[in-house]
């Protein structure tokens, strides 16, 4: 009886998460409004549901937490777009690497620095640092440097919305002549959301943005892992 009591809520939270996501995806497919995006509306409905049912976050994550574990195999799936674009990597790697290094340093220093100026506590500051990366990479970096990975996931989401709102205005304001710069800027600053914006500008911009999103994620995870190893926390 105890086993059933434990299994039922865990299963129902998993089903609720997948079900709400699936339904909101179908709705978003028909009505493309930014506030109807599955990634915004699904957590919102779930939070309301959890509060109404007087459930705790611990109870919820105990049931549906395994879904977050699937971000690791999703990282493996980045191999296909990366391999498809190997010709671009071979040709443009110095310029993209320069953009990614400057972009990553800017992301880390400005989010950490501004948070420090505002007196935000250290763990939250560290969780902010990798927020411009794609979620699986950002959570891995956050874990390596002592942040709170799930909080980082939330900041990544807010970053995506910010990038979507600012992307168009910035791209028409900045005097950029190369598709390379437009794509790199959007992919570096706002991961998948920026990449979607870049595809609206053109195929080349989108391809570059997707590439920069994956490569910058890999670069940051590699550096963060090495830092953790050298600091002996491993």
């Amino acid at each position: 009886m105890n086993a059933i009591n434990a299994i039922v809520p865990s299963l129902s939270w998993s089903f609720a998460t997948i079900g709400i996501y699936w339904v909101s995806k179908q709705i978003y497919r028909r009505r493309r409004r930014i506030w109807l995006m599955p990634i915004a509306i699904t957590p919102l409905i779930l939070i309301v549901l959890i509060l109404c049912l007087h459930e705790t976050y611990q109870g919820y994550i105990g049931g549906a937490g395994w879904l977050v574990g699937l971000l690791a195999p999703a990282t493996i799936a980045f191999a296909a777009p990366l391999y498809e674009r190997r010709a671009i990597i071979r040709k443009q790697w110095p310029i993209l690497l320069a953009g990614m290094i400057v972009g990553s340093l800017t992301a880390i220093s400005t989010s950490y620095g501004l948070a420090w100026l505002l007196g935000i506590e250290p763990a939250v500051r560290l969780s902010l640092a990798p927020r411009s990366l794609s979620t699986p990479f950002a959570m891995a970096v956050s874990d390596a440097i002592g942040g709170i990975p799930s909080l980082t996931a939330f900041f990544v989401l807010v970053t995506g919305f910010t990038g979507t709102f600012l992307g168009d205005a910035m791209m028409s304001w900045l005097p950029l002549r190369s598709a390379l710069a437009r794509g790199a800027a959007l992919g570096m600053s706002a991961h998948a959301a920026g990449t979607a914006k870049a595809y609206e500008l053109g195929f080349e911009e989108g391809t570059i943005a997707g590439l920069v999103m994956i490569l910058s994620g890999l670069l940051n995870v590699a550096v963060a892992s090495l830092l953790r190893m050298s600091s002996g926390q491993f």
Binding site: I61, V68, P73, A79, L82, R131, S150, R182, A190
Partner: protein
């Protein structure tokens, strides 16, 4: 040629090879099989990361493994694409539970939340401008070098 010759010699035997080829292609094209292949790669790399003191998440090792398999042509993009599209396309589902964790941070309601939003907006703007300018400057510099 040999297949045709064999068939003419033994008219009663059924040649299974075309059926086998179709079956193999079906399996390769099926999304479920491709998802299982990716999960197998993950499982293998997670095992390696647990056994060896490698300073990297299992997803990274799996990604490296998949790239090596693709580069050495042990697997083709064709046997991976539908599976990877599913994982990347529905990746948002996997971080929904992490986003719900904001429920555990009621301290962000009000002013602290607005401060965090300001940090994110300003930082995103800075990243966009710095990355764009870096790439653009190098691009223009390279263009001038090519012209001269």
């Amino acid at each position: 040629m040999t297949a045709v010759a064999n068939r003419s010699q033994r008219p009663l035997s059924i040649d299974l090879r075309p059926a086998m080829l179709v079956a193999r292609r079906r399996i390769r094209q099926s999304r479920i099989a491709q998802i299982c292949l990716i999960l197998a790669l993950w499982w293998a790399s997670a095992g390696v990361v647990r056994l060896l003191p490698l300073p990297m998440p299992s997803g990274m090792l799996g990604l490296a493994l998949a790239l090596i398999l693709l580069a050495t042509r042990r697997i083709s993009l064709f046997t991976l694409r539908r599976g990877t599209e599913w994982f990347v396309g529905d990746m948002m589902l996997f971080f929904v539970p992490a986003v719900v964790s904001i429920l555990d941070h009621p301290e962000f309601i009000g002013r602290p939340g607005l401060e965090l939003l300001a940090v994110i907006v300003l930082s995103t703007l800075a990243v966009m401008i710095m990355t764009a300018l870096t790439v653009e400057v190098i691009y223009l510099w390279r263009l001038r070098l090519e012209r001269n």
